[in-house]
Symmetry: none
DNA sequence: GATGAATGAGTGTTCATTCAT
DNA sequence: TATGAATGAACACTCATTCAT
């Protein structure tokens, strides 16, 4: 958690630090991010960061959690809870893709929790990161199962797991250097991803989900 | 690429170095792996590593590629090419799970290519890593489509992508600290993963694939 | 010297700052004492310290001098100048021991002027610290020599030096971690020092002094 | 304890590092000694120090212990164990003074264990530092008491404590900036200490000891 | 070919002091 | 006068790589 001081400084300064930190952590990874360079980019003194945060680790955790919040807001913010599963899932994928393309850093930070040498952080964050979506999806599927919109022989846990798995893979494919190469190789796409290349992919994925959930 | 010297040393020495390197890189990540510690664990002199490899990076690339080879051998090695897609995919998931549980380090190394700050490596390895499986799956699906075992309205590229995506998520769930927590949260499992908890999961995944591919 | 401001603030605030400063400087030493931590302990703002004192060094010097005053008051305060050397010396040791046990910080500060890297301070304080006692003891010994209470072949300077030397060693033995261990080792004492262990030690020391000074 | 490496390097390099380290630690104190500056003075790379020692603390402990050894050798090295207490004590003071004047750094290091913020070190070293002399003096006094050379009503522990206390004060007076000022003030000496000023002081101290120990 | 001592740029963190409010 | 945010030099320690033996 940041120190009190962090919340007393002007908002633009605070935002700039968070933005540059998210950017650097995402670009270089936790260990390769240099606090001095971060300070320089954020336009503040190195020592100031330590007036705001206990340590690099403290800063990292906050940046990740903050990124998670922002992602959720962007994706779940304008969701109508009355929509059915299918529409909600479509919304999640579309808004997710849009957000991830304008702010790839947060998805990269998310993906990074699972990388080698980060188990220290995963113990602190993974559950809180995953729980929200897991609960959300399960609740949604269960609700619509009762409404007869989802097959009643579906395993709610497994279904939620599948939906989220496809979400993760898809989003990672939009930001990670490796997964972009992979996506291009599988789909035999050349050049950058455009709406034209992405739309059918989202379609394919949501179709798969429909297949999995929709009553015969 | 290793230097000539590396292939002239006794096999067990070579193996030990590769094993310890894979272990350390997987445990700590590339940057946090210390060449001195590696040398110590491998029972050789620090300088010797530089007699075998140009640099840490050279070693890392070789260890990753070597791990990929070993993984493929374990998974595709005893596959009968005449089996149909479904049986082959089942085999891949089962052998994959088995191999990944006895040698988590290679899957971790694979997963790590996509993490922050590793794009340098992904440019060197991602394509070669992914191409094999992508080609294999596409060829297989296409073949069985011709044999009438796969729906003919299936997009071969997308189908291969989906199969491999589910494979990656599943395997990552067995090794990464983060994805293990996530799996437990979604499936509401407590304690370690056993065959009893994994079997239905594999079943669910292969069922999903069948759903996606099998003619009505 | 403190700035004017320091003497305008409420006495308890002033006292608290001096007390915490003495405590911290004694506990950690000059260099390892953190001005921010001191401010926190004293319940004032970091900047305020700099409203009262020119610098850390200025504060330190004042705290040391103030401690010296307090020590003197405690030890010489209730001394009857008419007592003979022996009684006065006994009084000094007893009151000294009592004061040093309730306020070890001041003796520690005194001892610290002589430690490595503190010659800057010793040039500023040593003389003024030592002069008082040196003069006092010499005057006293000389007076009682004239009264026939001290052997007339005694070297007054040397005698004063010896008395004070024994005083310093004894007091240091009560406060410094090292000298406590040393005292325990020499006297083969176990556990904490009590009046029962200290009394004979004081006796031994004053006997030695008597031996040195008393006419045959 | 130093690492193996330290004992494999050329002796002059080893000696130079120890000499410069003793010098700097004595001049500046533990905390204010800068490893980079030490390396520079010793003519080696900063990293090399860490090939020899685990840490600054490790180095410091070794330098102190090594200094203690050297001091002992210089002082007790050419002592004839058959000499009586008085002659041995005289020898200790004279050789001590000589050694301390040519190598003040070791005595300063010794004195420093007792300074503020060093209790961490005193717990590690004080006993081992003091035990040798304490045992030596006690044994010697006891032996000569049996030989009738020491009054039989003397408390051996206390006597040893007194002898060593006078030794410490005297030696400190030769090296510490503070204690030099103090000595000058008490003895009203001006200028540097010479053999002419020191001889009577040693005489006075040994006389005091004789007074304390010699049979009437 | 094997070894491990040497190197020095790099990194997270601390802290006395300043100064705008 | 009181406050505490800002600063940046300093500092212990790390580590990939080299190279003499």
């Amino acid at each position: 958690m940041p120190k009190q001081t962090f919340f007393k400084i002007p908002e633009d300064k605070r935002e700039r630090l968070l933005r540059e930190a998210a950017g650097l952590f995402a670009e270089r990874g936790y260990n390769q991010t240099d606090m001095a360079q971060l300070a320089r980019r954020a336009g503040i003194a190195k020592g100031s960061i330590y007036n705001y945060f206990e340590s690099k680790e403290d800063l990292y955790l906050y940046v990740c959690r903050d990124g998670m919040q922002r992602s959720r807001e962007a994706i779940y913010g304008r969701m109508d809870p009355e929509w059915d599963v299918y529409r909600q899932i479509e919304h999640i994928f579309k808004e997710g893709a849009r957000f991830v393309q304008s702010h790839p850093e947060y998805l990269i930070l998310y993906a990074n929790i699972s990388s080698a040498g980060m188990s220290r952080f995963s113990e602190l964050m993974s559950l809180e990161v995953e729980k929200y979506t897991a609960d959300y999806l399960k609740r949604l599927i269960r609700r619509d199962m009762q409404r007869g919109l989802v097959r009643d022989d579906v395993d709610v846990h497994f279904a939620a797991f599948m939906v989220n798995s496809l979400y993760i893979i898809f989003m990672a494919s939009l930001v990670s250097s490796h997964f972009k190469i992979r996506l291009r190789e599988y789909l035999e796409i050349e050049g950058d991803f455009t709406d034209a290349t992405l739309a059918p992919l989202i379609q394919g994925i949501t179709d798969t989900i429909n297949n999995l959930l929709k009553p015969a």
